[in-house]
Symmetry: C2
């Protein structure tokens, strides 16, 4: 990762898992939770939880635990989820369509604010109440709608081009679903989803089980 | 994770990333690669790569590097990707539809072999050449088609029920996309995808950049 960030990517990736579990714990009416219990529920060690959180400040009370609501608010702020982020989805195929309809985004502070495609049959259609725009409108739309994050759901061969256009228009965050290596300038953040990772790890564990 | 597996989940999750990068390196005509160069390209330290691979045996030659093709074959076997896995997708909404059409699965050894839904309007339809079956047929279909992995793309409130039915039918691997906590018996492997993790880490990095 880039040198200006001292906190490891693994730590940053665990915070949303903590947050999600805390929300569930809150729904159960629990107000204080120990790192042991939180760790047990998530499947990480309590040491890891304490170390991750210590990167951002002092949370929890020794011998007592974490105040659930307070810790949720803190994690939310650390992740920048207390503000709203506008998302543009580029490529309204099956996956783009699915993401445009993914309800959980709203609940964590993301708004799907624009859809782009280059297919004349799709341009002008509405998905989840949002009009699909011509990719040629990307430059003006990024400014008009204050788009922060571009989601890449185009075919692999078009992914880098889509990223380049978003970046040229001023988008600083790219969430890539195309299974290819994407290049971005130093001041742009890239997160790539790789759906084959989850399946491959299942394959690994199933292979091991089968041998026994 | 379960105690019978000594290798960490993080290591298992990195192997597909190594594999994907090695394939790209191979496409560039490179036959031998150092852990330094491989690490630089993926964004992990060479020490991490050497440590991860050492969990599974001795690979590479000191002072020379890794033979690309050989290492690819080894990782493929470690992950169990040299054999075929049959996937069932439960819930043919937008996401299920997208995954049923995801071409990269085939190239890494996974075959979408069954689709299930409980919506009479979807049952009998064909997606990517595969008929959508009534979820009530899950028991017999798991056996007939030798289904190994169940993909959960139903709404959250129906996810646990879908998992329970797959598990009762003998499926030992669950790949869950519903944003809820799923419970499985000890002998079943569960991998949950959480789409909010990628977005949340983008939010984290964008918040940091904005402050500077």
């Amino acid at each position: 990762m880039k040198s200006k960030v001292e906190v490891s990517k693994a730590t940053v990736d665990r915070l949303p898992l903590y947050f999600r579990m805390l929300r569930q714990i809150q729904n159960e009416g629990i107000e204080i939770i120990s790192s042991e219990e939180l760790g047990r529920r998530i499947g990480v060690t309590p040491e890891q939880i304490r170390k991750d959180l210590a990167s951002f400040g002092e949370f929890g009370k020794k011998g007592v635990g974490y105040y659930v609501q307070e810790l949720m608010r803190n994690i939310n702020e650390i992740l920048g989820l207390h503000r709203n982020w506008n998302i543009a989805i580029v490529g309204v195929g099956h996956l783009g369509w699915a993401l445009a309809n993914y309800r959980s985004f709203n609940s964590i502070g993301f708004t799907v604010a624009a859809l782009f495609d280059n297919d004349p049959a799709k341009i002008g259609q509405y998905v989840n109440g949002i009009e699909v725009l011509d990719i040629d409108c990307v430059e003006e739309t990024v400014k008009e709608r204050d788009l922060h994050i571009g989601v890449i759901t185009v075919p692999s061969r078009m992914a880098q081009l889509a990223v380049d256009r978003l970046v040229a228009a001023g988008v600083k965050g790219i969430w890539n679903f195309a299974p290819v290596l994407i290049k971005v300038p130093e001041d742009v953040w890239l997160v790539s989803e790789d759906l084959s990772v989850g399946l491959s790890s299942l394959s690994y564990y199933l292979s091991r089980s089968a041998k026994e």
